[in-house]
């Protein structure tokens, strides 16, 4: 077996700010890797570079597709990235409104990726959308309502359904539970954990919620000021943190 995604020597600057400073990371099939760190540490920048949504100033990102072919993400054309995003990957945004079409029904939102992938049977598309609504614990009877009618937590579920309906191999999630009530967050995390296990997904999860990382991730990468300061198996990093910054992160959670 080889890694799905492998990145090395990533640098990204915004003026004087080093958003990424010599970052390396890899993710293996079926693995959940959490990227944690304080605000501004470069988590979202890393995710965007890995997903080809932002170009790093230097470094390399290699993605291996199901057929074993390698794609250099930093050199990939728009069309190639679009293909990967359509067929192999999914991206879950913190703000569901950034991902959903707010004037399109729940069924249309979930079905869009199927249609983009070439499916042309209305009944099948609708049936898959209904199944996915159930799978994210939404009432399939609401398939024709637009996301405007839904709570923040439901919008996030809908975004997850829309992302997973095409069976992606690798899903990028940027603070998928951010901005939601604590009780809603807990249910959503449970849901994500179930889906990830059922579908054998590889997930790169950005969060500054250490509890979420503990619940979901096999491995943790700790970032600070654009650098990876520590990485390892989740239990090891959280129970026996080596870097002083990680120790601080973990203890501040315990205190909270």
């Amino acid at each position: 077996m080889s890694p799905l995604l492998q990145a090395q020597g990533l640098h990204l600057r915004f003026g004087a700010v080093r958003a990424l400073d010599d970052v390396a990371i890899e993710i293996w099939p079926g693995e959940v890797v959490a990227i944690v760190g304080e605000s501004g540490s470069g988590k979202s920048s890393l995710l965007r570079v890995l997903a080809g949504q932002a170009r790093a100033d230097a470094g390399q990102v290699l993605y291996r597709d199901a057929a074993g072919a390698e794609h250099s993400i930093l050199d990939a054309s728009d069309a190639a990235l679009r293909r990967l995003m359509r067929a192999d990957w999914g991206f879950v945004h913190q703000n569901a409104r950034d991902a959903l079409r707010m004037e399109v029904s729940a069924g249309g939102n979930v079905g869009e990726r199927l249609m983009a992938a070439g499916q042309r049977h209305y009944g099948d598309i609708r049936a898959q959308a209904a199944r996915w609504l159930e799978r994210v614990e939404m009432d399939p009877a609401r398939i024709d309502e637009t996301p405007r009618n839904f709570s923040g937590g439901m919008q996030q579920r809908l975004q997850i359904a829309r992302t997973l309906v095409t069976n992606p191999r690798l899903v990028f999630m940027d603070e998928p539970t951010g901005g939601l009530d604590v009780s809603v967050q807990a249910r959503l995390l449970d849901l994500i954990r179930g889906l990830v296990a059922d579908l054998d997904l590889a997930v790169l999860l950005v969060t500054h919620d250490i509890a979420a990382a503990r619940l979901l991730a096999h491995r943790i990468v700790v970032m600070r000021a654009g650098r990876v300061v520590e990485h390892g198996l989740t239990d090891r990093v959280l129970d026996d943190p080596q870097h002083p910054y990680t120790q601080l992160l973990v203890s501040s959670v315990l205190a909270a």
């Binding site: 679009r82 029904s105 249609m115 983009a116 009944g123 609708r126």
Partner: protein, 274 residues
């Protein structure tokens, strides 16, 4: 032909520019080619794009037919026909089979075109995605990547809300299995006539400054779903004048008492059958 105007009204430089755009449009069926549209002596919405295309392809031996909603005798059709008669001295006709160039708004004639004939459409809005994606740079990208899931979502929404696709006019088509195209606002009933048509179909949009084309015998498929196939809808009546059960019908009010009847929208076709 009146003096003081160049043949066909347009200056030769403009015609050359449009003639350079036309082969590109023909070479990439359904793809919109920008061109530097000229101000014409009539307002946008009156077919300035179609008129410029016609003016650029017109030769002294051409025979021109102009229809508006299928009719040769509406004000718009009559003025455009007269205009070209005056500025180019070309022969005009109402007979579809006699014409070498047919300029049209909103219809395709019922009489099938033959090889060598050219149908010029007046197009108000060439971009089929504009209602779904208002950003021009993004629609250009979607075309480049043939990323048309969004258009299919719109059809999905129509069926989910109304049980059927709601576009009886301007139903989007895929041209040559590659480009999504707006068929100018013709009735969905006419869409199948675009498919493998023997004639050359040219589309001119004056305000948006775009030209596109469907070369002869090109595949033109109306977007649909396997289980909700595209249906070219027609009012379930016979023409009150000629009895046709095949042609596209207009409903016309006949008196103040609310009397109405259905008649062919293609007036020449109807007249020939009476």
């Amino acid at each position: 032909m009146i003096a003081g105007y160049n043949f066909g009204y347009l200056d030769e430089a403009t015609k050359r520019m449009i003639r350079r755009a036309l082969p590109k449009a023909v070479a990439i069926p359904g793809h919109q080619i920008p061109f530097g549209a000229r101000e014409m002596p009539l307002p946008y919405g009156w077919g300035t794009g179609g008129i410029q295309v016609t003016a650029s392809i017109l030769g002294p031996d051409d025979v021109l037919k102009v229809i508006d909603q299928g009719a040769d005798d509406t004000t718009n059709a009559v003025s455009i026909r007269r205009f070209f008669h005056r500025v180019a001295g070309v022969a005009t006709t109402e007979r579809t089979a006699e014409a070498t160039i047919i300029q049209t708004r909103h219809r395709i004639p019922e009489t099938p075109l033959r090889a060598g004939q050219i149908l010029v459409y007046q197009v108000p809005m060439p971009e089929p995605l504009f209602k779904l994606e208002p950003r021009v740079a993004e629609t250009t990208r979607l075309h480049a990547l043939a990323d048309y899931g969004l258009m299919q979502v719109k059809l999905y929404e129509d069926i989910a809300a109304q049980g059927e696709v709601a576009t009886s006019y301007n139903h989007p088509v895929m041209v040559n299995h590659r480009y999504l195209m707006s068929p100018s606002p013709i009735p969905a009933f006419d869409n199948p006539k675009m498919h493998r048509n023997a004639g050359l179909q040219l589309f001119g949009a004056g305000r948006e400054k775009r030209i596109y084309a469907v070369p002869p015998w090109t595949d033109v498929r109306s977007l649909d779903f396997e289980d909700h196939p595209f249906r070219p809808v027609r009012a379930p009546h016979a023409c009150a004048l000629c009895g046709s059960e095949e042609s596209y019908l207009d409903e016309v009010i006949t008196d103040d008492a609310g009397g109405r009847m259905h008649v062919c929208s293609d007036t020449h076709y109807c007249g020939g059958r009476q």
